[in-house]
Amino acid sequence: MIQRREFLAAPVGGVTAALAGCTGGDGGEKAAILEETLTLTTTTSTYDTGLLDVVNAAFEDRYGVDVDAVALGTGAALETARSGDSDVVLVHARSLEDAFIREGYGVNRRDLMFNDFAVVGPEDDPAGIDGMDEVTAAFRAIAETESTFISRGDDSGTHAKELAIWDEAGVEPGGEWYRVAGSGMGEVLTQANQTPGYTLADRGSYRSHGSGLDISIRVEGPIEGGPELLANPYGIVAVNPAVHENVNYDLAMSYIGFITSRAGQEIIEEYTVGGEQLFFPESVSGDPNFQQYVPGDWTPDDE
């Protein structure tokens, strides 16, 4: 096993020399050793927190290839992969990933890491949900008091989770208090802060949001002892080369191999914003978890 320090230092001779000629800025000469580019479509939460900058820099150092990371919502990231415009997807909505795999677009899914969601809201807490143990009860309270709630409404992983919680809570959200923003997490946090209102946010985006937010966490996720329903697992899936022969499957698998390796997982583990760890790696495990490779509800009888 190569320790991270060594592995970052090792390629200095070869790779850096190869890269040195490529930083001139003229678009034609960007390729390095393999003269290939990996296109990764991912969610705004991994991108905006800055995690991917660190992971991709290490990957590029090691493999001498460029990673083009495109930050979209989970739905859009998978849709881009469906049309063969990306090689690998890193997303966080298991149900959408499962559909993606079932339709044959994705292969070799791995559990990558997790963090959690939290319900954030204004200081005066009009719905009185502060410190609740059950997020479904908190959502019901928001609906009953008709306190403003801002929904992502963009088919993202967070949006999917929010809808699942409403479903679980037995509430059909609607009415003037329920606002559908159709925007990314950062924008929705800004809106929730300005309005003010409640929203469901992933911990990473909430922590790394740049402007001083007055809204704070009202219902904690499982990392801080909150309900398991607020867990936020991330998965990584390669695009099936049998469906799109143009995709760079080799490189996609190299990327998956790297990010799920000890070295990659250590980078995730060590990544902090404001002194706080944002993502918790879960790829390297002695206990086999076969469900990570197949759709969540798959059984051998499915065939």
Binding site: D66, D68, G274
Partner: protein, 242 residues
């Protein structure tokens, strides 16, 4: 709770690690300016090459349906950039007609969409300029024995400020739009912080999305300054009297 970003001076105390992490480095800013200029100037150059012949041809001739052509050009001036971005994305996507060229998320695709956005503006304004050259000027050119080409050249010379304005308007449209370049370009930066398809506008959008409004404002100021500079240069080259 994350502290409010109070300043963007690169050195100094009192920063959260967030600010230090932010790749607001020289290389980063320079490369997004480079990509912005490269994409928009190329698109406008190509657009101008296509626009001027069309403007002159339409401006000089009378034919049935001319009104319709002019209306079409004027409609093109108002194309929503996100729609253009979507259409170009469909064209260059691996499923689309240009899929084999692997253009999605490249500067070439961004040039294509900005070309579609800028060309009608350049054509429309140039056409108006050409049309507004007084008939007397043309008549005089004819009377002095000029060929059709001579007359065209004289007209262009007379209309040059209007044409320059058209080109600048096209450039303004191209460099300030965010909808299409975000869709077809993907707002990509390589891991060393060099822009691949990130422009000033998409960088501003990204900062705003993350709530870093001050940084977004600074990039906005850079963009405005840049457009101002280009305007100054073009007008100076064009003779100054506008």
């Amino acid at each position: 709770m994350i502290e409010l970003v109070s300043s963007v001076v690169p050195v100094g105390g009192g920063f959260t690690p967030l600010v230090v992490d932010f790749p607001f480095e020289r290389n980063y800013v320079e490369s997004i300016i480079y990509v912005s200029l490269y994409v928009s100037l190329t698109a406008v150059l190509l657009g101008t090459l296509v626009s001027l012949p069309i403007a002159i041809l339409v401006g000089f001739s009378q034919f049935p349906g001319k009104g319709f052509v002019v209306a079409l050009i004027n409609t093109g001036m108002g194309f929503p950039s996100v729609v253009v971005g979507l259409v170009v994305l469909f064209a260059v996507s691996n499923q689309g007609p240009l899929g084999t060229f692997d253009l999605v998320f490249t500067t070439e695709a961004m040039i294509m969409s900005q070309f579609v956005l800028a060309t009608p503006v350049i054509t429309g304004v140039s056409l108006a300029a050409v049309t507004s050259v007084e008939d007397g000027v043309r008549d005089a050119a004819y009377a002095m024995g000029g060929t059709r080409l001579d007359v065209a050249l004289v007209t262009i010379k007379e209309a040059r400020f209007g044409i320059a304005t058209g080109i600048l308007a096209g450039l303004g449209r191209a460099i300030s739009e965010v909808g299409s370049v975000l869709i077809v370009g993907g707002n990509i930066v390589s891991a060393d912080g060099t822009s691949v398809t990130r422009t000033l506008t998409t960088a501003i959008q990204l900062e705003a999305r993350q709530g870093r409004f001050e940084l977004a404002m600074i990039l906005g100021a850079i963009l405005v300054t840049l457009v101002l500079l280009i305007n100054g240069i073009v007008l100076r080259l064009g003779g100054g009297r506008v």
